[in-house]
Assembly symmetry: C2
Homo-oligomer: 214 residues x 2
């Protein structure tokens, strides 16, 4: 399964996907193209250093969201992307884009959704005083961080944490989880039943392990 | 510290508090009285079987919430309660009641707040399709499950879970956590700084253990 990875930032999740691919933990998924909406995103350098095709589709160059997304879809089509991973991509997608990849768009978000959707989730978590935070990888729908949840991992919030320290702890889990979900998606192991995503066991694995297989 | 425990239901959290008291894990807290707003609450039998004083203050016997709470406060005062544990107590408290026990009222809720406040939290979690659920023990303010969070524990949601199965898994953690928080409260180890609750180390314990001490 050929993945288009959409980025806006430094590219730490992209780096985790590339490392998984390089060590055989992403197959049968492969990264076909990395598309950034920001020409200065550090993720572009991460992609280039790994020898991956990159494209820049700057949202500021388009009169409206439809034309921006049309260009995004064109960049993905050029590289025959079959699924899309949002790896720190900071634009909300319209129904048109979402419909182009039904249950084939995955986002990662640094909170245990439905808690703390939107921007700066680790800062929201610290301000709220929660003691458990985490990461959510989910299918994308047209809301903000509202789609069916594929997998979540919890991390503790420590008394000494500021938002940055908490975010780093969340990212350790995120960088493990996102490639594992991308692989499971490519293996056809993610089954969506309403809002509930069931992860089927990998071929040869015991059914009882299904929840542990990411 | 003499605790008044408010109940409405079967009394599983009360039973956990009683078991902790019987085995020395609650001291210097002690259960002074158990008050139910429902005359048929199973928790009353749990309390009586342990030899604890009980009181019934049926909210249906009172013309308004103020008079109901006045009777609750009187029942607590009769037994010299210094702090209040809501152990499955299903009535929202007014500012008058909350002000009578400043930072001395603790509630337990079967979700990782701020996710899924209110009724039937495990059913809400299953319906939403989350993969991580949990329990929150928090100070009570005048909102519904909105007060400063003292402690949280996460549990996995399994593909086979219905709300009842998930609730049972949450309760295993809840029945450990609530007595530990009650003890820490009585030891004066819970420090509230805005919305953030810091748990100070027990006397003799290493500071680094503070987050693990519940």
């Amino acid at each position: 399964m050929r993945l288009g990875v959409l980025v806006s930032g430094r590219g730490s999740n992209l780096a985790a996907l590339l490392a998984a691919e390089a060590t055989g933990r992403l197959a049968p998924a492969e990264i076909a193209v990395v598309v950034s909406n920001r020409p200065d995103a550090g993720a572009l350098e991460v992609a280039r250093a790994a020898g991956k095709p990159v494209a820049v589709v700057d949202h500021r160059d388009f009169a409206d969201r439809d034309r921006f997304e049309h260009a995004l879809l064109a960049a993905l089509a050029t590289h025959d992307a079959e699924a899309v991973i949002l790896a720190g991509f900071m634009r909300v997608l319209t129904p048109t884009f979402v419909a182009a990849f039904p249950l084939r768009i995955v986002n990662t978000h640094p909170s245990l959704l439905p808690a703390f959707p939107g921007h700066d989730a680790p800062a929201q978590a610290v301000a709220h005083g929660v003691k458990v935070a985490g990461v959510t990888v989910h299918f994308v729908d047209t809301g903000v961080d509202t789609g069916p949840i594929i997998a979540q991992r919890a991390v503790p919030v420590l008394a000494t944490d500021d938002a940055a320290a908490l975010h780093r702890r969340i990212q350790v889990e995120e960088h493990r989880l996102l490639p594992a979900v991308a692989r499971a998606l490519a293996q056809g192991r993610l089954v969506c039943e309403g809002r509930t995503v069931v992860i089927r066991a990998a071929p040869g694995a015991a059914d009882a392990d299904a929840d542990q297989l990411l």
